[in-house]
């Protein structure tokens, strides 16, 4: 019998383009990339040069501050490019694949007979440590720290998010093996949807299973942590995503490095939303080519709340299991602010779409207004099911008041937990950017 936590606050954005649980077919990608920008605060140190050959499982770069954290190539091939941006920051390390993508043998390890140090060593060695993110800050975990707990959310409530029950089907044993390995690091907590979810999740051993009910962001691991074991100043907890737990499980139980990743292609501009089997960091063009109308479309790696814009020939984000395509809403609308707006989705009731029931919307990327001073109160609180005052916290960040930030609970949130606050903001507040600025400031000042 698992604990049940019911969340009332939140919002499910009814976006058109949900994928059915079928797999689409697409040819394997030729290019693969790891983007250091997918990791907060990561400074990469390159271990390969452009034009060099790299084997599958070979090290592409390491974390400059924690050199034991390695980023491995998913495929064997040649390093095509190391693309840099402003101040020569590395944006993408691209590898051109040669031959088929095959799992790499690394040797099994039975976690029940291994020490915590051996498990950490194995994770570092196989590059799987990069799957472990730590709270506060949502950065790659520090292997030297004491970790209070490991949290795995096995469902995603974000708009059009993948159904992990479907994604892990066939890999249930590997998931359990991954949980067994992670349990060596710290007590494991698994957040589930409860009844009807995959038995791999609800029946997981070696972990405490907690059931969550309610709208988005109930699936956000930060919200789950807040209700199970809120993070206090000085504590560190780890979070891992289900597909990555499976990958970790395969390392320990089968001795194989498996970079395969299921990704769901969704959104209003997708012709046939479906699941695809691909590889971490794969170029997405082969998947989206005939499925997404490229004209005036924005392709997002991730969901519409937290994902990053990528080009039609861009690369899947490191932790992403979703691609979303939606229309660029860069057209002006005559008297748009007073029009009835029956095609607009709003959490507020100022558009009378709330009388239309559960319609799905073809939302675009229009901001629907311009940034303003904060006027409306209470709207962010309605979509944040945590014991936190979002407006006061954000104001403390804007004022760079570190003590206040800690007091108001900045350690307990990261961008995805508060993304809905940004969505609903009448004043079009860049909530996630403000929060990241605050978190970066905390990392510098407090560590």
């Amino acid at each position: 019998m698992s604990d049940v936590i019911k969340l009332r606050k939140g919002l499910d954005i009814r976006l058109k383009g949900k994928a059915e649980t079928v797999y689409g077919q697409a040819p394997a990608a030729e290019l693969y990339a790891i983007k250091p920008t997918d990791f907060n605060g990561l400074k990469p140190k390159m271990m390969v040069k452009e034009g060099e050959h790299v084997d599958a499982g070979g090290v592409l770069f390491v974390d400059k501050n924690k050199p034991e954290v390695k980023f491995l190539s998913a495929v064997s091939g040649t390093v095509e490019a190391v693309r840099r941006g402003e101040r020569r920051a590395i944006l993408e390390v691209v590898v051109r694949a040669e031959g088929e993508v095959k799992p790499v043998e690394v040797g099994k390890l039975n976690p029940s007979q291994a020490t915590r140090e051996q498990v950490i060593e194995k994770l570092l060695e196989t590059g799987a440590w990069t799957y472990l993110l730590q709270r506060p800050y949502n950065v790659i975990a520090d292997p030297k720290l004491y970790h209070k707990a490991v949290f795995i959310s096995t469902f995603d409530t974000a708009p059009l998010a993948p159904d992990y029950d479907h994604v892990v089907r066939g890999n249930e044993e590997a998931f359990q093996a991954g949980v067994d390995a992670l349990a060596k690091l710290a007590p494991v907590f698994i957040g589930t949807r409860g009844q009807g979810s995959s038995k791999a999740f609800t029946g997981a051993k070696n972990a405490k299973v907690v059931e969550f009910q309610g709208p988005h962001p109930a699936g956000c691991v930060g919200v789950q942590i807040n209700h199970v074991q809120p993070i206090n100043a000085g504590e560190v907890v780890l979070t891992v995503q289900p597909q990555e737990v499976v990958a970790i499980g395969k390392i320990f139980s089968e001795g194989k490095l498996d970079f395969s990743r299921v990704v769901v292609v969704t959104g209003p501009e997708v012709k046939k939303p479906a699941y695809y089997r691909t590889v971490v960091g794969a170029q997405v063009s082969s998947i989206v080519e005939n499925n997404v109308n490229p004209e005036g479309t924005r392709l997002v790696s991730g969901n519409v709340l937290t994902g990053k814009t990528i080009a039609m020939d861009g690369f899947l984000g490191y932790h992403d299991s979703q691609l979303t395509a939606l229309k660029e809403g860069n057209e002006s609308e005559f008297m748009g602010w007073i029009a009835p707006g029956l095609n607009k989705f709003s959490a507020s009731r100022t558009f009378f779409t709330w009388l239309q029931g559960k319609k799905e919307y073809r939302l675009d990327t229009n901001m629907h207004g311009q940034p303003r001073a904060i006027v409306v109160s209470g709207e962010m609180e309605k979509v944040l099911p945590m014991d936190i005052y979002p407006e006061h916290l954000l104001k403390a960040v804007m004022a760079k008041d570190i003590d206040k930030m800690i007091e108001l609970g900045i350690f307990e949130v990261v961008e995805e937990d508060m993304a809905l606050c940004e969505f609903v903001s009448t004043s079009k507040l860049p909530v996630q950017r403000i929060l990241r600025n605050g978190l970066n400031l905390m990392m510098e000042e407090v560590g």
């Binding site: 002006s332 009731r349 079009k428 909530v431």
Partner: protein, 385 residues
């Protein structure tokens, strides 16, 4: 509509940096975004946004004010001809009211928006829409007789000293419309209260007394309740500031605000509960003065109580910003309003002062509520440490 869009696009360069009218860039921007919701897209955070924006919210407030405004315009004419001892048609009353109300509204908008646009240009910030609601609220809380120059001075005072010096929309401590009214109330009391300011110009017929329901209740409660019984007062057939008399029309607007979620039901309900309860207690245990013995439900329909509860106390910027705080804020607004009415015969109307006073206290209420969250977090950390 295409030609208008084309025209805007063709003149736009004049207002951009280096253009002929660079100084009016924010003014142009405000008009352009008024005509066309801009095609700005989300960059770097969420990719989709809620349809709502400040323009939409303010539009809802203006829509909600329309019933009270229309009734107020009619009632201004009706009260005027009552004073003159004449019965006039609906349109005649309405027309007279328009001649009073429209000039006031124009003055308030021209002065207020003029200052808003000027500050926006100076600060190089976009024009906030907040004043569009304030500009309509100001004439609605004025008596019919107030000279236009006073409306202009009061509007200028409130926009500059109650709003812009604090940083503009969203940063003000006091509700700007009420500051405008309070400014006139204390600077020119003879034009803002008393028995004669509610009717427009003209000679009153013999035997006409122009006291408002509240000041009448102050001296003679029975007379007040017989002249302005509950239903008359509820519908609004009584003298008073232009928009405040009809509880019915105000509540229609209030229901609209609650349906659209623009106003907080917590604040609104709490004001009525706080006021009703306080008046009820005075009925039971209060002194034997007329106003203390005025039945509690009459308090809610007399004077500006309803208008304040629905449109003023619910202003999100100057009210409490925490949900729990809204209950406390509302209850205290109602309590203080009745307290002022009953215990200070010098001010028959306590609502304006109550709201301004509670505006001042709202951040303190929020402070204690947020502090509870902070100490909870601190205790939790100590327990696990």
């Amino acid at each position: 509509m295409k030609s208008l869009r084309k025209y805007l696009d063709s003149v736009k360069p004049n207002f951009e940096k280096g253009g002929k009218y660079e100084k009016f860039s924010q003014t142009f921007e405000a008009f352009e975004s008024f005509l066309y919701a801009p095609g700005t897209t989300n960059q770097g955070g969420v990719h989709v946004r809620d349809g709502v924006d400040l323009k939409r919210v303010i539009s809802m407030v203006i829509l909600a004010l329309i019933p009270a405004a229309i009734f107020g315009i009619w009632n201004t004419g009706y009260q005027h001809y009552q004073m003159l001892g004449l019965e006039q048609s609906f349109w005649c009353n309405f027309w007279y009211g328009l001649t009073i109300f429209v000039p006031m509204m124009i003055v308030s908008y021209v002065v207020g928006l003029g200052i808003e646009f000027a500050t926006a240009e100076i600060r190089h910030e976009q024009v906030n829409e907040g004043f569009l609601a304030t500009g309509l609220l100001i004439p609605l809380v004025m008596p019919a007789d107030v000279p236009l120059w006073m409306v202009a001075v009061a509007t200028a005072f409130s926009v500059i000293f109650a709003k812009e010096v604090f940083g503009g929309t969203g940063m003000n401590i006091w509700n700007p419309a009420l500051v405008a009214r309070a400014f006139l109330f204390f600077a020119y009391p003879s034009k803002m209260s008393g028995d004669a300011v509610w009717y427009g110009e003209g000679e009153a017929v013999d035997g006409f007394t122009g006291a408002t329901a509240l000041s009448l209740a102050n001296s003679n409660m029975e007379l007040a309740t017989s002249k302005y019984d509950f239903w008359n007062a509820f519908i609004g057939y009584m003298p008073g500031s232009i928009g405040e008399t009809s509880a019915l029309c105000i509540l229609i607007g209030g229901v609209f605000l609650l349906l659209t979620g623009v106003a907080s039901w917590k604040t609104m309900l709490s004001v009525f509960v706080g006021g009703g309860l306080t008046a009820f207690l005075f009925n039971q245990f209060g002194p034997a003065t007329g106003i203390a013995q005025l039945p509690w439900y009459m308090h809610l329909v007399y004077g500006g109580f309803c208008f304040g509860a629905v449109f003023m106390a619910t202003d999100p910027v100057t009210s409490c910003r925490t949900e729990a705080g809204k209950y406390i804020f509302g209850l205290l607004v109602g309590f203080v309003a009745i307290l002022v009415r009953v215990l200070n015969p010098g001010y028959p109307e306590g609502m304006m002062l109550a709201i301004l006073f509670m505006n001042t206290l709202a951040p303190t209420i929020d402070y204690f509520i947020v502090d509870r969250n902070i100490s909870k977090r601190r205790k939790r950390a100590l327990k696990t440490a």
